[in-house]
């Protein structure tokens, strides 16, 4: 309906409708809500499409000896034509979200089934990566044509599958993944601005997760420099999560949460001393990796401080993203100093998060900070050779710390009953 709204100024300018009518039309579309249950039906429609489509592919994959080559060829084409016809009907009749998403997913899998079956009939070569690439490319225009979130979700899932297959299991870099994500961006940004629904919420989590998984596919040969690249990328996700556009949906914000988790995981890995042995050995990475790191870091800094509406303040995760590269460069000359500094950085991060949790009366944040601190302590048990008694006592200490911190916060909260609750 957004297109009608876009045409309103033109209609008013040409005296087709009065400004009042234009306002009424706008109010109508703003206030109109999708019929209740429609969102759920869309999800089930898309899920149905996925299951049926996957079922068809699996049945074909059995490879039926009883069918002649020509029968199999017909089977490869007919489902595709039928689902294309269904999709054309959906478009001509201007059907709603349920139809568009269900038809879209069915067509997506029909395309896959078709090229899979043809490959099977004629024993065509090509690894799984090439197959997935062809499939995704053939279906990507459908996201825009059908304005389907289900297809966007499938697109991200399959792009990730492709990146893992090509990146982790072959020497190639999965460049197609960058293309796929770029193809999706205009749609995703438009959805974020105009229509917030379950599909957008799913993408808010899927996209950062997919990025974190797929990035490893590009890092073959980067060795420990990969830590630096990953940290800059997690920092970028975190900075994106802080953007104005996500402000009103903190609970649905995968960028922020996954960015924070990524930063903590990478820093905890870098807190082991043995990691730094290899940094000295492989101190000069390939130019590609240096460029990749600089791009992510520059983007993270841009979104943190220079983007329109950026909060500009130094919060703990942002600071960690910027401080870690300095520690890494010390690591080129020595292995003890950077591991000690990383430990201090993680500890400081944990304490800062605990402080934030206490200040905001937020148990989720408080316990996240406690987890960061205790994971760090637990990790040191692998490095340091101390007696079981000492380790046991330390663990008890950490456990008691958990109880105490939460208890203190509960008490503080009781004394301030008017404070809004963030407790999960």
């Amino acid at each position: 309906m957004a297109s009608i709204e876009k045409d309103l100024p033109e209609l008013v300018a040409n005296n087709v409708i009065t400004p009042q009518t234009a306002k009424d039309i706008q109010n109508y579309y703003t206030s109109r809500k999708e019929p209740q249950g429609n969102g759920l039906l869309t999800i089930f429609g898309a899920l149905g499409g996925i299951l049926v489509g996957l079922g068809i592919i699996l049945i074909f994959a059995h490879n039926w000896d009883d069918f002649s080559k020509s029968t199999k060829t017909m089977l490869a084409i007919i489902p595709l034509v039928v689902t294309q016809a269904l999709t054309a009907y959906t478009l001509i009749k201007n059907k709603g979200g349920v139809w568009r998403n269900a038809c879209g997913t069915l067509l997506f899998f029909s395309v896959g089934a078709s090229i899979a079956l043809v490959a099977q009939i004629y024993n065509l070569p090509g690894n799984l990566g090439t197959f997935l690439f062809t499939w995704i490319v053939l279906c990507s225009p459908l996201i825009y044509i059908l304005r389907s979130n289900a297809l966007a979700v499938l697109h991200v899932l399959f792009a990730t599958y492709y990146a893992v297959e090509e990146g982790y299991f072959s020497p190639e870099k999965p460049w197609g993944y960058v293309l796929f994500i770029a193809l999706l961006m205009p749609f995703y940004i438009q959805q974020l601005k105009e229509e917030r629904n379950n599909g957008t919420a799913a993408l808010n989590w899927l996209l950062p997760l997919s990025g974190l998984i797929s990035l490893g596919g590009f890092l073959d040969g980067a060795d420990q420099f990969g830590l630096l690249i990953y940290l800059a990328f997690a920092g970028l996700l975190h900075a994106i999560g802080y953007m104005e556009i996500f402000k009103d949906s903190p609970k649905k914000n995968g960028f922020l949460t996954l960015g924070e988790m990524g930063i903590v995981v990478i820093l905890t890995m870098a807190s082991f001393r043995w990691v730094w042995h290899d940094v000295i050995v492989n101190s000069i990475p390939h130019t590609f990796f240096i460029i990749l790191w600089l791009v992510f870091l520059a983007a993270a800094i841009y979104f943190s401080f220079f983007h329109k509406g950026a909060s500009k303040h130094f919060e703990p995760f942002r600071t960690a993203t910027l401080v870690f590269p300095l520690i890494y460069f010390i690591g080129i000359f020595d292995d003890l100093v950077p591991s000690v500094l990383t430990n201090i950085l993680v500890l400081a991060l944990g304490v800062a998060v605990i402080r934030e949790g206490v200040a905001k009366f937020d148990f989720a944040i408080l316990n996240f900070g406690l987890i960061i601190t205790s994971v760090l302590i637990a990790c040191r048990f692998f490095d340091v050779n101390m007696s079981f008694v000492v380790r046991g006592l330390l663990f008890i200490g950490v456990g008691v710390g958990f109880f105490l911190a939460n208890y203190v916060l509960i008490q503080k909260k009781k004394n301030k009953p008017e404070t809004p609750s963030y407790e999960n």
Partner: protein
């Protein structure tokens, strides 16, 4: 987007979606029916593809070439000009970067160069089989390979203008599908 534009965009997408499998069918069909037939000595093993089903991967005798060219890189296209030996099996007469003008040739992919020996991937190393038969085919082959009256196992491949289509795999003078069924029905002695 206006409905008319959406429909045009969809029509183009749908046509491309149809064109790709139809082109695959056409290319393979014409090669299969009109191409020259070659027999490539091979050994089968059994892997799995989540979307296209089970297949046997073929390892070919003809996968290495001696070459003086030291510039071969992984992934380069390698044209292999074909001939037949005295027993009628395919042999690679020559490997080249230039597309040959005449004669039968296949389009392969360079894998690695080691001490003047170029290793290539032939473009027909997957033979899709019914899901219960692919593992059975591998088992039957290992048993057959150890037997006294071993005759070379080979792939029947149609070749035309650099395109190639794997038509069948022959083991003990019969198609591998039949060989699997025959051996499955045999009672263990």
């Amino acid at each position: 987007m206006k409905t008319r534009n959406i429909l045009i965009a969809f029509a183009v997408t749908a046509l491309v979606q149809l064109f790709i499998p139809l082109k695959m069918i056409y290319d393979s069909h014409i090669t299969e029916t009109e191409g020259a037939e070659y027999h490539f000595k091979a050994k089968p093993i059994d892997p799995n593809d989540p979307f296209r089903g089970k297949y046997i991967t073929l390892a070919f005798d003809m996968e290495t070439f001696t070459t003086a060219d030291t510039t071969w890189q992984e992934g380069d296209t390698a044209y292999i000009i074909l001939a037949k030996d005295k027993d009628g099996f395919a042999i690679g007469k020559m490997v080249t970067r230039e597309k040959p003008n005449d004669g039968d040739y296949i389009t392969a992919e360079a894998r690695r160069l080691y001490d003047q020996t170029l290793f290539v991937n032939l473009p027909f190393e997957r033979y899709y089989m019914e899901e219960s038969k692919a593992p059975a085919a591998e088992a039957a082959y290992s048993k057959y390979a150890a037997s006294q009256d071993y005759k070379p196992v080979y792939a029947v491949v149609a070749v035309r203008n650099g395109n190639s289509v794997l038509k069948d795999v022959i083991i003990d003078s019969m198609p591998i599908k039949e060989y699997v069924i025959k051996n499955r029905n045999k009672k263990p002695q």
